[in-house]
């Protein structure tokens, strides 16, 4: 499946569950913004590697609200310790979706170690995360997005032709926090 199709399904699942959605730096955020922009989306513009950590902080701060994180293989490899932290601290309302295209898609598709066989599913399991799933087909994704834990989604390399996000960092966080803070919760 194409990454943008997986991202669209994640956006739909987040909307259906009134979930917060943290999206990784680069093309994934641009693709999400173009197919399913919501104020509940936090678009990362920097700090590569920290999507899963930002989402975990959100999930711990608001245990009654589902948090979905869209991360990538390259970014998770940059912050592998996050898997151990998630194993020991992630609450029930947390789902980390790792879109694995085996390359650094936003910088010219240089291969990551998953291209050479590094197994993020096995790493997540070995870190102690109980609920780890693997999805190859788009049809199987919606159901998995209802759950929690970690899911590794195999996607094709390549980016969709989508524009740069026109929102400023201030606009992104201001509208996101109106959704994320306790007073804003329904």
């Amino acid at each position: 499946m194409k990454r943008i199709d997986a991202i669209f399904l994640a956006g739909q699942a987040a909307q259906a569950q009134d979930a917060l959605l943290v999206s990784n730096i680069g093309f994934p955020s641009r693709e999400l913004c173009s197919v399913m922009d919501r104020p509940h989306n936090f678009y990362m513009l920097g700090s590569m590697g920290l999507a899963s950590s930002i989402g975990l902080g959100l999930a711990l701060a608001g245990p009654e609200r589902k948090v979905i994180v869209l991360d990538g293989d390259g970014s998770v490899l940059m912050n592998l310790g996050t898997l151990a932290t998630i194993a020991h601290h992630a609450p029930e309302n947390y789902l980390l979706v790792i879109l694995d295209n085996c390359c650094y898609g936003s910088t010219g598709s240089q291969p990551t170690c998953t291209h050479l066989g590094t197994d993020l599913f096995a790493l997540a399991k070995a870190a102690g995360i109980k609920n780890v799933k693997k999805v190859d087909q788009a049809d199987d994704l919606p159901q998995v997005l209802q759950g929690q834990g970690v899911v590794i989604v195999k996607v094709e390399a390549g980016n969709a032709a989508v524009p740069i996000i026109s929102l400023s960092p201030e606009e992104i966080i201001e509208r996101f926090m109106r959704c994320a803070r306790p007073a804003a919760r329904s």
């Binding site: 930002i54 902080g57 912050n79 966080i173």
Partner: protein, 165 residues
């Protein structure tokens, strides 16, 4: 007054209710207090940069975050402090055990010890190095400043601070 208790009371006065940490030997009592405090969500992390991410998420979710670490961890956090906290305007209280100064027994601590204040200055991150008598006030004030200015603020606690009685 004990140094760890003074910092803890400053954090409580500031209303800190979320903490991410990487340990330093000088932070052990403080970390134990935070761990036992049912009003503070405490997440030990594997690397300080990860803690910057967690604290940013906790802030956006409505909590008041602090990151506890050794100054070596500042070096591991620079990009996240700049391209997450400073970019979006996210406040953070950093409680930093400042090693590598006067009386440091571990030579490996010296280079980052000397670079800590210059790195913070280069990033325009305010930093304070209180003595025991004003530590509680300084910690509480550092959070107020972080909150008001929507950026990270650091409290540097050097070897003399931890030795004070």
């Amino acid at each position: 007054m004990n140094p760890s208790l003074a910092v803890y009371q400053g954090m409580k006065r500031a209303g800190i209710n979320f903490a991410a940490s990487v340990p330093c030997v000088n932070l052990q009592e403080l970390l134990a207090s935070i761990n036992e405090d049912g009003q503070i969500v405490h997440v030990p992390v594997t690397r300080e940069e990860e803690g910057v991410g967690l604290c940013a998420g906790a802030w956006m979710g409505g909590l008041r975050p602090a990151l506890l670490m050794q100054n070596s961890g500042l070096g591991n956090s620079i990009n996240a402090l700049a391209s997450l906290d400073m970019l979006y305007g996210i406040p953070l209280l950093m409680i930093i055990s400042h090693r590598g100064g006067q009386g440091e027994p571990v030579i490996g601590q010296v280079p980052m010890g000397q670079l800590t204040a210059p790195l913070l200055d280069a990033m325009a991150i305010p930093h304070f190095s209180p003595r025991l008598a004003d530590a509680e006030e300084t910690v509480a004030g550092a959070w107020s400043r972080a909150y008001a200015s929507r950026r990270p603020v650091a409290v540097l606690l050097d070897l003399d601070f931890w030795r004070a009685k």
